[in-house]
Protein backbone atom coordinates (compact mmCIF):
# COMPACT_ATOMS: atom_id res chain seq x y z
CA UNK A 1 0.00 0.00 0.00
CA UNK A 2 3.03 2.24 0.40
CA UNK A 3 3.41 2.38 -3.38
CA UNK A 4 -0.26 3.34 -3.83
CA UNK A 5 0.15 6.09 -1.26
CA UNK A 6 3.27 7.30 -3.07
CA UNK A 7 1.46 7.43 -6.40
CA UNK A 8 -1.52 9.29 -4.99
CA UNK A 9 0.68 11.70 -3.04
CA UNK A 10 2.52 12.51 -6.25
CA UNK A 11 -0.77 13.11 -8.07
CA UNK A 12 -1.93 15.34 -5.21
CA UNK A 13 1.25 17.45 -5.48
CA UNK A 14 0.78 17.79 -9.24
CA UNK A 15 -2.91 18.65 -8.83
CA UNK A 16 -2.07 21.29 -6.22
CA UNK A 17 0.56 22.77 -8.52
CA UNK A 18 -1.83 22.91 -11.50
CA UNK A 19 -4.94 23.76 -9.49
CA UNK A 20 -6.06 26.88 -11.34
CA UNK A 21 -5.30 25.65 -14.84
CA UNK A 22 -7.05 22.35 -14.04
CA UNK A 23 -10.06 24.08 -12.52
CA UNK A 24 -10.54 26.67 -15.22
CA UNK A 25 -9.80 24.13 -17.95
CA UNK A 26 -12.43 21.75 -16.59
CA UNK A 27 -15.08 24.49 -16.64
CA UNK A 28 -14.63 25.82 -20.18
CA UNK A 29 -16.18 22.96 -22.12
CA UNK A 30 -19.27 22.40 -19.90
CA UNK A 31 -19.90 26.14 -19.76
CA UNK A 32 -19.94 26.31 -23.56
CA UNK A 33 -22.24 23.29 -23.77
CA UNK A 34 -24.59 24.78 -21.20
CA UNK A 35 -24.73 28.07 -23.07
CA UNK A 36 -25.07 26.52 -26.54
CA UNK A 37 -27.38 23.59 -25.81
CA UNK A 38 -29.01 24.68 -22.58
CA UNK A 39 -29.78 28.33 -22.90
CA UNK A 40 -29.29 28.72 -26.64
CA UNK A 41 -30.64 25.79 -28.62
CA UNK A 42 -32.81 24.21 -25.94
CA UNK A 43 -34.37 27.28 -24.37
CA UNK A 44 -38.09 26.58 -23.86
CA UNK A 45 -37.82 22.99 -25.13
CA UNK A 46 -39.27 20.02 -23.24
CA UNK A 47 -37.65 16.58 -23.35
CA UNK A 48 -39.07 13.49 -21.62
CA UNK A 49 -41.44 15.68 -19.64
CA UNK A 50 -38.86 18.11 -18.26
CA UNK A 51 -37.10 21.27 -19.37
CA UNK A 52 -34.22 20.75 -21.76
CA UNK A 53 -31.82 22.29 -19.23
CA UNK A 54 -32.83 19.69 -16.61
CA UNK A 55 -32.40 17.00 -19.26
CA UNK A 56 -29.05 18.14 -20.56
CA UNK A 57 -27.20 18.77 -17.26
CA UNK A 58 -26.82 15.04 -16.38
CA UNK A 59 -25.79 14.41 -20.00
CA UNK A 60 -23.11 17.10 -19.79
CA UNK A 61 -21.89 15.69 -16.46
CA UNK A 62 -21.69 12.18 -17.97
CA UNK A 63 -19.89 13.41 -21.05
CA UNK A 64 -17.52 15.75 -19.26
CA UNK A 65 -16.53 13.26 -16.57
CA UNK A 66 -15.84 10.77 -19.36
CA UNK A 67 -13.68 13.27 -21.28
CA UNK A 68 -11.78 14.51 -18.22
CA UNK A 69 -11.13 11.04 -16.75
CA UNK A 70 -10.13 9.57 -20.09
CA UNK A 71 -7.84 12.41 -21.11
CA UNK A 72 -6.15 12.76 -17.73
CA UNK A 73 -5.46 9.08 -17.47
CA UNK A 74 -4.37 8.60 -21.08
CA UNK A 75 -2.24 11.75 -21.19
CA UNK A 76 -0.63 10.96 -17.86
CA UNK A 77 0.52 7.51 -18.94
CA UNK A 78 1.42 8.18 -22.55
CA UNK A 79 3.39 11.32 -21.71
CA UNK A 80 5.12 9.39 -18.92
CA UNK A 81 5.92 6.57 -21.36
CA UNK A 82 6.80 8.38 -24.56
CA UNK A 83 7.94 11.89 -23.67
CA UNK A 84 9.14 12.34 -20.10
CA UNK A 85 9.96 8.64 -19.57
CA UNK A 86 8.86 8.91 -15.93
CA UNK A 87 7.07 5.57 -16.42
CA UNK A 88 10.52 3.92 -16.32
CA UNK A 89 10.94 4.97 -12.70
CA UNK A 90 7.98 2.74 -11.84
CA UNK A 91 9.11 -0.09 -14.12
CA UNK A 92 12.40 -0.45 -12.23
CA UNK A 93 10.80 0.02 -8.80
CA UNK A 94 9.59 -2.95 -6.72
CA UNK A 95 5.99 -1.95 -7.33
CA UNK A 96 3.24 -4.31 -8.42
CA UNK A 97 1.88 -3.14 -11.76
CA UNK A 98 -1.64 -3.88 -10.51
CA UNK A 99 -1.08 -1.28 -7.77
CA UNK A 100 0.45 1.12 -10.27
CA UNK A 101 -2.59 0.73 -12.55
CA UNK A 102 -4.95 1.25 -9.62
CA UNK A 103 -3.14 4.41 -8.53
CA UNK A 104 -3.17 5.95 -11.98
CA UNK A 105 -6.82 4.99 -12.60
CA UNK A 106 -7.83 6.45 -9.22
CA UNK A 107 -6.00 9.68 -10.03
CA UNK A 108 -7.69 9.95 -13.45
CA UNK A 109 -11.08 9.25 -11.89
CA UNK A 110 -10.47 11.92 -9.27
CA UNK A 111 -10.11 14.55 -11.97
CA UNK A 112 -13.42 13.37 -13.44
CA UNK A 113 -15.22 13.63 -10.10
CA UNK A 114 -13.68 17.06 -9.57
CA UNK A 115 -15.04 18.22 -12.94
CA UNK A 116 -18.51 16.88 -12.00
CA UNK A 117 -18.44 18.93 -8.79
CA UNK A 118 -17.46 22.02 -10.79
CA UNK A 119 -20.36 21.51 -13.24
CA UNK A 120 -22.82 21.09 -10.37
CA UNK A 121 -21.56 24.33 -8.81
CA UNK A 122 -21.71 26.07 -12.17
CA UNK A 123 -25.25 24.93 -12.98
CA UNK A 124 -26.51 25.69 -9.49
CA UNK A 125 -25.68 29.34 -10.09
CA UNK A 126 -28.02 29.49 -13.07
CA UNK A 127 -30.65 26.80 -12.51
CA UNK A 128 -30.68 26.13 -8.78
CA UNK A 129 -29.10 23.30 -6.82
CA UNK A 130 -29.16 19.94 -8.61
CA UNK A 131 -30.42 17.01 -6.53
CA UNK A 132 -27.38 14.78 -5.97
CA UNK A 133 -28.55 11.43 -4.64
CA UNK A 134 -26.17 8.67 -3.54
CA UNK A 135 -27.14 6.84 -6.74
CA UNK A 136 -26.20 9.91 -8.81
CA UNK A 137 -22.84 10.01 -7.05
CA UNK A 138 -22.21 6.26 -7.56
CA UNK A 139 -22.97 6.48 -11.30
CA UNK A 140 -20.68 9.51 -11.67
CA UNK A 141 -17.91 7.74 -9.80
CA UNK A 142 -18.29 4.55 -11.85
CA UNK A 143 -18.30 6.53 -15.09
CA UNK A 144 -15.07 8.22 -14.04
CA UNK A 145 -13.43 4.89 -13.16
CA UNK A 146 -14.57 3.24 -16.42
CA UNK A 147 -13.10 5.96 -18.61
CA UNK A 148 -10.03 6.46 -16.48
CA UNK A 149 -9.25 2.75 -16.89
CA UNK A 150 -10.02 3.05 -20.61
CA UNK A 151 -7.74 6.07 -20.90
CA UNK A 152 -4.97 4.28 -19.05
CA UNK A 153 -5.23 1.31 -21.42
CA UNK A 154 -5.28 3.62 -24.45
CA UNK A 155 -2.22 5.45 -23.11
CA UNK A 156 -0.38 2.14 -22.87
CA UNK A 157 -1.41 0.93 -26.31
CA UNK A 158 -0.47 3.96 -28.38
CA UNK A 159 2.93 4.26 -30.03
CA UNK A 160 2.88 8.03 -30.63
CA UNK A 161 0.89 11.12 -29.69
CA UNK A 162 -0.90 10.95 -33.06
CA UNK A 163 -2.34 7.54 -32.16
CA UNK A 164 -4.31 9.10 -29.31
CA UNK A 165 -6.40 11.00 -31.86
CA UNK A 166 -7.68 7.64 -33.17
CA UNK A 167 -9.20 6.83 -29.77
CA UNK A 168 -10.73 10.29 -29.58
CA UNK A 169 -12.05 10.28 -33.15
CA UNK A 170 -13.43 6.75 -33.27
CA UNK A 171 -14.50 6.08 -29.67
CA UNK A 172 -14.76 9.12 -27.43
CA UNK A 173 -16.25 11.72 -29.80
CA UNK A 174 -18.99 9.44 -31.22
CA UNK A 175 -19.96 8.42 -27.68
CA UNK A 176 -20.03 12.05 -26.58
CA UNK A 177 -22.83 12.82 -28.99
CA UNK A 178 -24.68 9.52 -29.41
CA UNK A 179 -25.08 8.21 -25.88
CA UNK A 180 -28.06 10.25 -24.78
CA UNK A 181 -26.06 13.23 -23.61
CA UNK A 182 -27.80 15.97 -25.61
CA UNK A 183 -30.95 14.20 -26.78
CA UNK A 184 -32.97 11.13 -25.97
CA UNK A 185 -31.65 7.96 -27.59
CA UNK A 186 -35.27 7.03 -28.41
CA UNK A 187 -35.02 9.54 -31.27
CA UNK A 188 -32.32 7.39 -32.88
CA UNK A 189 -33.00 4.65 -35.48
CA UNK A 190 -33.71 1.26 -33.86
CA UNK A 191 -30.55 -0.38 -35.23
CA UNK A 192 -28.39 2.37 -33.85
CA UNK A 193 -30.23 2.23 -30.52
CA UNK A 194 -29.13 -1.41 -30.06
CA UNK A 195 -25.50 -0.38 -30.47
CA UNK A 196 -25.86 2.68 -28.28
CA UNK A 197 -27.48 0.63 -25.50
CA UNK A 198 -24.30 -1.38 -24.97
CA UNK A 199 -22.03 1.64 -24.62
CA UNK A 200 -20.98 2.68 -21.10
CA UNK A 201 -21.68 6.39 -21.52
CA UNK A 202 -25.30 5.59 -22.38
CA UNK A 203 -25.72 3.91 -19.00
CA UNK A 204 -24.00 6.80 -17.28
CA UNK A 205 -26.33 9.32 -18.94
CA UNK A 206 -29.44 7.21 -18.28
CA UNK A 207 -28.30 6.50 -14.71
CA UNK A 208 -27.79 10.18 -13.93
CA UNK A 209 -31.31 10.90 -15.21
CA UNK A 210 -32.84 7.84 -13.55
CA UNK A 211 -35.00 9.55 -10.91
CA UNK A 212 -38.27 7.62 -11.02
CA UNK A 213 -36.85 4.77 -13.10
CA UNK A 214 -37.53 1.16 -12.09
CA UNK A 215 -35.00 -0.46 -9.74
CA UNK A 216 -34.05 -3.08 -12.34
CA UNK A 217 -33.00 -0.37 -14.77
CA UNK A 218 -30.98 1.41 -12.10
CA UNK A 219 -29.19 -1.81 -11.16
CA UNK A 220 -28.53 -2.53 -14.84
CA UNK A 221 -26.73 0.82 -15.26
CA UNK A 222 -24.49 0.06 -12.31
CA UNK A 223 -23.92 -3.49 -13.52
CA UNK A 224 -22.91 -2.40 -17.02
CA UNK A 225 -20.52 0.25 -15.71
CA UNK A 226 -18.96 -2.15 -13.18
CA UNK A 227 -18.58 -4.73 -15.96
CA UNK A 228 -16.82 -2.27 -18.24
CA UNK A 229 -14.57 -1.14 -15.42
CA UNK A 230 -13.52 -4.69 -14.47
CA UNK A 231 -12.73 -5.63 -18.08
CA UNK A 232 -10.82 -2.42 -18.84
CA UNK A 233 -8.94 -2.47 -15.52
CA UNK A 234 -7.81 -6.09 -15.92
CA UNK A 235 -6.77 -5.45 -19.53
CA UNK A 236 -4.86 -2.31 -18.47
CA UNK A 237 -3.09 -4.05 -15.57
CA UNK A 238 -2.15 -7.04 -17.73
CA UNK A 239 -0.85 -4.84 -20.52
CA UNK A 240 1.00 -2.64 -18.04
CA UNK A 241 3.02 -5.67 -16.92
CA UNK A 242 4.25 -6.27 -20.44
CA UNK A 243 4.71 -2.62 -21.46
CA UNK A 244 8.31 -1.76 -22.24
Amino acid sequence: MSALYGLLWQEYILFKRKFWSTTIGAMVSPTLFLIAFGWGLGNGMQVEGRSYMEFVIPGIIAMNTMLVSFSNSSNSIHIARIYYKTFEEYMVAPINMLVFTLGKVMAGAFYGVYSAILILILTSVFTGVHDVTPYFFVITLLNCFVFSAGGFLAGLLIKSHGDMAKFSNFIITPMSFLCGTFFSIEKMPKVLQCLIQILPLTHASLGLRSAGEEAAGMVLHIGVLVGYFVVLFIAAARYCKTAE
Binding site: S2, A3, Y5, G6, L7, W9, Q10, I13, L14, R17, K18, Y84, K85, T86, F87, E88, E89, Y90, M91, V92, A93, P94, I95, T242, E244
Partner: protein
Protein backbone atom coordinates in the same frame (compact mmCIF):
# COMPACT_ATOMS: atom_id res chain seq x y z
CA UNK B 1 28.19 -9.80 -7.33
CA UNK B 2 26.35 -9.17 -10.59
CA UNK B 3 26.41 -12.05 -13.06
CA UNK B 4 25.12 -11.99 -16.61
CA UNK B 5 24.66 -15.52 -17.90
CA UNK B 6 24.38 -15.94 -21.65
CA UNK B 7 22.26 -12.78 -21.72
CA UNK B 8 20.45 -12.34 -25.03
CA UNK B 9 17.92 -9.87 -26.37
CA UNK B 10 16.28 -10.24 -29.76
CA UNK B 11 13.86 -7.86 -31.48
CA UNK B 12 12.35 -9.92 -34.30
CA UNK B 13 15.29 -10.58 -36.62
CA UNK B 14 17.64 -8.14 -34.85
CA UNK B 15 19.85 -9.50 -32.06
CA UNK B 16 20.63 -6.48 -29.89
CA UNK B 17 22.55 -8.42 -27.22
CA UNK B 18 24.05 -11.77 -28.12
CA UNK B 19 24.92 -14.17 -25.29
CA UNK B 20 26.88 -11.91 -22.94
CA UNK B 21 28.60 -13.65 -20.02
CA UNK B 22 30.01 -11.36 -17.38
CA UNK B 23 30.77 -11.28 -13.64
CA UNK B 24 31.10 -7.95 -11.87
CA UNK B 25 32.64 -8.23 -8.40
CA UNK B 26 31.41 -6.44 -5.28
CA UNK B 27 32.84 -2.93 -5.09
CA UNK B 28 33.97 -2.99 -8.71
CA UNK B 29 33.47 -0.01 -11.02
CA UNK B 30 32.79 -1.68 -14.34
CA UNK B 31 32.37 0.05 -17.68
CA UNK B 32 30.62 -1.14 -20.80
CA UNK B 33 32.23 0.79 -23.61
CA UNK B 34 30.97 0.84 -27.16
CA UNK B 35 29.56 3.03 -29.91
CA UNK B 36 25.89 3.97 -30.19
CA UNK B 37 23.80 0.92 -31.05
CA UNK B 38 26.34 -1.57 -29.69
CA UNK B 39 23.91 -3.00 -27.11
CA UNK B 40 25.01 -1.13 -23.97
CA UNK B 41 21.64 0.43 -23.14
CA UNK B 42 19.74 -2.77 -23.96
CA UNK B 43 22.01 -4.65 -21.54
CA UNK B 44 21.39 -2.10 -18.78
CA UNK B 45 17.66 -2.10 -19.48
CA UNK B 46 17.57 -5.87 -19.09
CA UNK B 47 19.49 -5.71 -15.80
CA UNK B 48 17.19 -2.96 -14.55
CA UNK B 49 14.12 -5.10 -15.48
CA UNK B 50 12.82 -2.52 -17.96
CA UNK B 51 13.33 -4.75 -20.98
CA UNK B 52 12.35 -8.45 -20.92
CA UNK B 53 15.19 -10.92 -21.46
CA UNK B 54 14.91 -13.15 -24.54
CA UNK B 55 17.15 -15.82 -23.00
CA UNK B 56 19.79 -16.18 -20.29
CA UNK B 57 19.65 -14.93 -16.73
CA UNK B 58 20.84 -12.14 -14.44
CA UNK B 59 21.92 -12.95 -10.90
CA UNK B 60 22.43 -10.20 -8.35
CA UNK B 61 23.94 -11.34 -5.06
CA UNK B 62 22.46 -14.85 -5.39
CA UNK B 63 19.01 -13.63 -6.49
CA UNK B 64 17.98 -14.71 -9.98
CA UNK B 65 15.92 -12.22 -11.93
CA UNK B 66 14.19 -15.13 -13.59
CA UNK B 67 12.93 -16.41 -10.23
CA UNK B 68 12.68 -13.36 -7.96
CA UNK B 69 12.23 -10.14 -9.87
CA UNK B 70 11.05 -8.09 -6.89
CA UNK B 71 14.13 -8.96 -4.82
CA UNK B 72 16.40 -7.97 -7.70
CA UNK B 73 14.60 -4.65 -8.10
CA UNK B 74 15.32 -3.76 -4.47
CA UNK B 75 19.02 -4.40 -4.96
CA UNK B 76 19.56 -2.05 -7.89
CA UNK B 77 19.54 1.69 -8.42
CA UNK B 78 19.11 2.93 -11.98
CA UNK B 79 20.21 6.17 -13.61
CA UNK B 80 18.88 6.09 -17.18
CA UNK B 81 20.41 7.94 -20.09
CA UNK B 82 17.63 10.52 -20.31
CA UNK B 83 16.04 12.65 -17.63
CA UNK B 84 13.03 10.84 -16.18
CA UNK B 85 12.46 13.10 -13.18
CA UNK B 86 9.07 14.71 -12.59
CA UNK B 87 9.79 18.27 -13.74
CA UNK B 88 6.68 19.73 -12.07
CA UNK B 89 7.92 18.60 -8.66
CA UNK B 90 10.80 19.79 -6.51
CA UNK B 91 13.96 17.76 -5.95
CA UNK B 92 12.80 16.93 -2.43
CA UNK B 93 9.39 15.80 -3.66
CA UNK B 94 10.96 13.59 -6.35
CA UNK B 95 13.10 11.90 -3.71
CA UNK B 96 10.19 11.61 -1.27
CA UNK B 97 8.02 9.81 -3.86
CA UNK B 98 10.90 7.45 -4.68
CA UNK B 99 11.41 6.67 -0.99
CA UNK B 100 7.71 5.97 -0.43
CA UNK B 101 7.51 3.70 -3.47
CA UNK B 102 10.53 1.75 -2.21
CA UNK B 103 8.69 1.36 1.09
CA UNK B 104 11.33 3.17 3.17
CA UNK B 105 10.24 4.05 6.71
CA UNK B 106 9.59 7.79 7.08
CA UNK B 107 12.48 8.55 9.46
CA UNK B 108 15.03 6.66 7.36
CA UNK B 109 13.60 8.19 4.16
CA UNK B 110 13.94 11.74 5.42
CA UNK B 111 17.47 11.07 6.71
CA UNK B 112 18.57 9.54 3.40
CA UNK B 113 17.00 12.41 1.41
CA UNK B 114 19.06 14.91 3.40
CA UNK B 115 22.19 12.80 2.95
CA UNK B 116 21.71 12.40 -0.79
CA UNK B 117 20.93 16.07 -1.35
CA UNK B 118 24.08 16.88 0.60
CA UNK B 119 26.13 14.32 -1.35
CA UNK B 120 25.01 15.77 -4.68
CA UNK B 121 25.31 19.38 -3.43
CA UNK B 122 21.65 20.10 -4.14
CA UNK B 123 20.51 20.94 -0.60
CA UNK B 124 20.30 24.65 -1.40
CA UNK B 125 18.02 23.99 -4.38
CA UNK B 126 15.92 21.19 -2.90
CA UNK B 127 12.70 23.21 -2.99
CA UNK B 128 13.10 24.36 -6.60
CA UNK B 129 11.09 22.71 -9.36
CA UNK B 130 13.27 20.23 -11.23
CA UNK B 131 12.15 21.78 -14.52
CA UNK B 132 14.29 24.80 -13.59
CA UNK B 133 17.44 22.70 -13.03
CA UNK B 134 20.41 22.58 -15.41
CA UNK B 135 21.22 19.31 -17.19
CA UNK B 136 24.06 18.60 -14.75
CA UNK B 137 21.85 19.19 -11.70
CA UNK B 138 19.15 16.91 -13.09
CA UNK B 139 21.75 14.19 -13.63
CA UNK B 140 23.01 14.61 -10.06
CA UNK B 141 19.47 14.40 -8.73
CA UNK B 142 18.90 11.20 -10.71
CA UNK B 143 21.97 9.72 -9.03
CA UNK B 144 20.70 10.88 -5.62
CA UNK B 145 17.36 9.23 -6.35
CA UNK B 146 18.96 5.99 -7.53
CA UNK B 147 21.06 5.81 -4.35
CA UNK B 148 18.27 6.78 -1.95
CA UNK B 149 17.10 3.24 -1.14
CA UNK B 150 20.72 2.07 -0.62
CA UNK B 151 21.01 -0.30 -3.58
CA UNK B 152 23.77 -2.90 -3.76
CA UNK B 153 24.44 -2.16 -7.43
CA UNK B 154 24.17 1.14 -9.28
CA UNK B 155 23.48 1.11 -13.02
CA UNK B 156 24.56 4.26 -14.83
CA UNK B 157 23.57 4.52 -18.48
CA UNK B 158 25.68 7.20 -20.17
CA UNK B 159 25.61 9.45 -17.09
CA UNK B 160 27.46 12.35 -18.70
CA UNK B 161 25.96 12.37 -22.18
CA UNK B 162 24.75 15.84 -23.11
CA UNK B 163 26.72 17.56 -20.33
CA UNK B 164 29.32 20.22 -21.06
CA UNK B 165 32.98 19.60 -20.18
CA UNK B 166 32.78 21.33 -16.81
CA UNK B 167 29.62 19.51 -15.71
CA UNK B 168 31.13 16.22 -16.92
CA UNK B 169 34.23 16.73 -14.72
CA UNK B 170 32.02 17.48 -11.72
CA UNK B 171 30.02 14.34 -12.42
CA UNK B 172 33.22 12.31 -12.56
CA UNK B 173 34.19 13.64 -9.12
CA UNK B 174 30.80 12.52 -7.81
CA UNK B 175 31.21 9.09 -9.36
CA UNK B 176 34.75 8.77 -7.97
CA UNK B 177 33.29 9.31 -4.50
CA UNK B 178 30.91 6.40 -5.11
CA UNK B 179 33.87 4.30 -6.20
CA UNK B 180 35.77 5.22 -3.02
CA UNK B 181 32.72 4.25 -0.96
CA UNK B 182 32.95 0.74 -2.46
CA UNK B 183 29.62 0.68 -4.27
CA UNK B 184 29.35 -1.78 -7.17
CA UNK B 185 28.75 0.25 -10.30
CA UNK B 186 28.00 -0.71 -13.89
CA UNK B 187 28.53 2.25 -16.18
CA UNK B 188 27.88 2.43 -19.90
CA UNK B 189 29.62 5.08 -21.91
CA UNK B 190 30.92 5.92 -25.33
CA UNK B 191 33.39 8.41 -23.88
CA UNK B 192 36.87 6.89 -23.84
CA UNK B 193 38.26 9.20 -21.18
CA UNK B 194 35.33 8.50 -18.88
CA UNK B 195 35.98 4.76 -18.98
CA UNK B 196 39.73 5.24 -18.46
CA UNK B 197 39.31 7.63 -15.54
CA UNK B 198 36.58 5.77 -13.66
CA UNK B 199 36.58 2.07 -14.41
CA UNK B 200 38.46 -0.79 -12.75
CA UNK B 201 37.56 -3.01 -15.68
CA UNK B 202 36.06 -2.34 -19.06
CA UNK B 203 34.04 -4.54 -21.40
CA UNK B 204 34.25 -3.52 -25.04
CA UNK B 205 30.87 -4.20 -26.60
CA UNK B 206 30.22 -4.29 -30.32
CA UNK B 207 27.27 -5.68 -32.24
CA UNK B 208 25.73 -7.02 -29.02
CA UNK B 209 28.75 -9.14 -28.04
CA UNK B 210 31.64 -8.55 -25.66
CA UNK B 211 34.71 -8.15 -27.82
CA UNK B 212 37.22 -7.84 -24.95
CA UNK B 213 37.23 -7.58 -21.18
CA UNK B 214 40.02 -6.34 -18.93
CA UNK B 215 41.34 -3.32 -17.04
CA UNK B 216 41.91 -0.21 -19.22
CA UNK B 217 45.68 -0.49 -18.65
CA UNK B 218 45.81 -4.16 -19.71
CA UNK B 219 43.63 -3.55 -22.74
CA UNK B 220 45.95 -0.77 -23.88
CA UNK B 221 48.99 -2.99 -23.28
CA UNK B 222 47.46 -5.62 -25.54
CA UNK B 223 47.49 -3.32 -28.58
CA UNK B 224 50.68 -1.43 -27.70
CA UNK B 225 51.27 1.61 -25.51
CA UNK B 226 52.08 3.95 -28.41
CA UNK B 227 50.09 4.82 -31.49
CA UNK B 228 51.43 6.30 -34.70
CA UNK B 229 48.77 8.16 -36.67
CA UNK B 230 49.60 8.75 -40.28
CA UNK B 231 47.34 10.98 -42.39
CA UNK B 232 48.03 10.31 -46.03
CA UNK B 233 45.96 10.04 -49.23
CA UNK B 234 42.92 11.50 -47.44
CA UNK B 235 42.72 8.93 -44.64
CA UNK B 236 44.29 8.27 -41.23
CA UNK B 237 45.99 4.96 -40.54
CA UNK B 238 47.06 3.83 -37.07
CA UNK B 239 49.85 1.46 -36.06
CA UNK B 240 50.58 0.36 -32.48
CA UNK B 241 53.95 -0.21 -30.77
CA UNK B 242 55.22 -1.43 -27.43
CA UNK B 243 57.82 1.30 -27.02
CA UNK B 244 58.19 4.92 -28.09
CA UNK B 245 61.48 3.99 -29.83
CA UNK B 246 59.69 1.51 -32.09
CA UNK B 247 57.00 4.08 -32.84
CA UNK B 248 59.57 6.77 -33.70
CA UNK B 249 61.52 4.38 -35.92
CA UNK B 250 58.37 3.44 -37.80
CA UNK B 251 57.23 7.07 -38.12
CA UNK B 252 60.58 8.05 -39.66
CA UNK B 253 59.77 5.92 -42.70
CA UNK B 254 56.35 7.51 -43.29
CA UNK B 255 55.20 10.38 -45.50
CA UNK B 256 52.35 12.79 -44.83
CA UNK B 257 51.16 14.09 -41.46
CA UNK B 258 52.42 12.00 -38.52
CA UNK B 259 51.41 11.99 -34.85
CA UNK B 260 52.90 9.79 -32.13
CA UNK B 261 50.83 9.53 -28.96
CA UNK B 262 49.93 7.23 -26.07
CA UNK B 263 47.35 4.59 -27.00
CA UNK B 264 43.87 4.73 -25.48
CA UNK B 265 40.77 2.56 -25.34
CA UNK B 266 39.57 4.01 -28.63
CA UNK B 267 42.63 2.45 -30.26
CA UNK B 268 41.91 -0.87 -28.59
CA UNK B 269 38.36 -0.78 -29.83
CA UNK B 270 39.46 0.22 -33.33
CA UNK B 271 41.99 -2.58 -33.55
CA UNK B 272 39.55 -5.21 -32.29
CA UNK B 273 36.46 -4.19 -34.24
CA UNK B 274 37.56 -1.83 -37.02
CA UNK B 275 35.01 0.62 -35.58
CA UNK B 276 35.43 3.77 -33.57
CA UNK B 277 33.70 4.16 -30.20
CA UNK B 278 33.10 7.89 -30.39
CA UNK B 279 31.71 7.81 -33.93
Amino acid sequence: MLSLINLTKKYDSLTAVNGINLDIEDGEFFGLLGPNGAGKTTTVRMISTMTPITSGDIIINHESMDRNRAAVKNKIGVVPQHNNLENEMTAWENLEVHGIIYNMPKALRRKRIDEMLDFTELTGRKNDLVGKYSGGMKRKLMIARALLHEPEILLLDEPTVGLDASARRKMWDLLKNLKNDGLTVLLTTHYIEEAEVLCDRVGLINGGTLAELDSPQNLIKKVGKFTVENFTNGETKEEFFETRGEAVAYAAKLEGSINIRSSNLEDVFLKLTNRRVES
